[in-house]
Amino acid sequence: MEISTYVRPHSLDEAYSLLADKKAFLIGGGAWSRMNSRKVDLAVDLSSLDLRFIKRNNTKIEIGAMTTARDLETSTELKEAFAGLFQKTVAHIVGVQMRNLITVGGTVGGKFGFSDLNTVFLALGAKVVLYKQGEVDFETYLTQRSEGPALIEKIVLDTQNVSGAYEAVRISRTDFSILNVCALRTKDTWRVAVGARPGAARLSVKAAEVLGSEKSPDADAAKKAGEAAAEELDFGNDLRGSKEYRTTVCRSLVKRAIQEVV
């Protein structure tokens, strides 16, 4: 990446002004800087804004935008709230070194198709908290263009009555997902998200309909939900897998993820 000016503001206000007035390019972990050929006039590094935190209160967990993938992997708060869900989700994102660099804000803000984490945030019905704009539902954030400058402050997760499982297929450990799935059971519904289609993650409404409010779907229901997701969602080709392959794998991964939810 070619950068003309690099600044590290000390307040969200300052960062927001630079973003709004000067169309600055935000830098989270900067993990993609090397692979990005864009020319940037003004880069704004968010690392001095105290946005690296995982806080838990009664029913919510707040994850600051500068929290790293490795922080998610080792967090006791996330483990207590969601068992091994986050640990499993980020475990094979390159290596420990890269996970120390990759930030939640960078991942969410990038809306990357290959993302493991965004699939899970989508299934969890996360809220994206944008500075000065307030909360946006994760699905809205992921599927719609942001109006105006979007400075992600934190992600908020509801921890009540949720149990989820994550499944992904990779050519090798540390590579990108060819397809990934998060199945989540809430108090009386299911949410099934499928990512790396290779487009960004989407919810399968039909898979959720198949499962209804069933707490422990049997193998046949899980299989039908997998088929429903594969039929409903769009898949595409890229160098890691074909549309047909992804469609087939979707059936199995959705089924497997549902059966893993305890």
Binding site: R8, M35, A43, A91, V96, M98, N100, R173
Partner: protein
Amino acid sequence: MTIELKINGRPRRLEIEPGDMLVDVLREAGYVEVKKGCDTGSCGVCTVLMNDTPIPSCSTLAAKADGQEIITVKGIEKEAAEFADFLTAEGADQCGFCAPGFALSVHSLVKENPSPNEEEIRHYLAGNLCRCSGYEGQLRAITKFVEANNE
């Protein structure tokens, strides 16, 4: 722009371009023990510690190191030499190109988890690729290094 940082305990002031990557800045400043491999963040050869945390210096903007503390393999020279003895004893060291990043990752692993099991070792070092070997020698070397450390 100018960055001020500590490298292996020594304060340094370096002139950089805002888009420079840390690996290039370190090598140009004379820290050629930091190797450049895949240059895409995948192989772990360029690993350095920033504030005691292993990062891929090829994918880290040098500007991010401003005000921070960087450790290269020379900053853990004694420990790296001890570990190298275990590597050579197991026949795991061939071309040696991956060794600096590998030694820093093992240093961080043991610091975070003083008694890792085989799966934990494999998981922590998944981001350090070696193209000479099949990793079995390294695994034996780490296991014995950890055992010796804990004695």
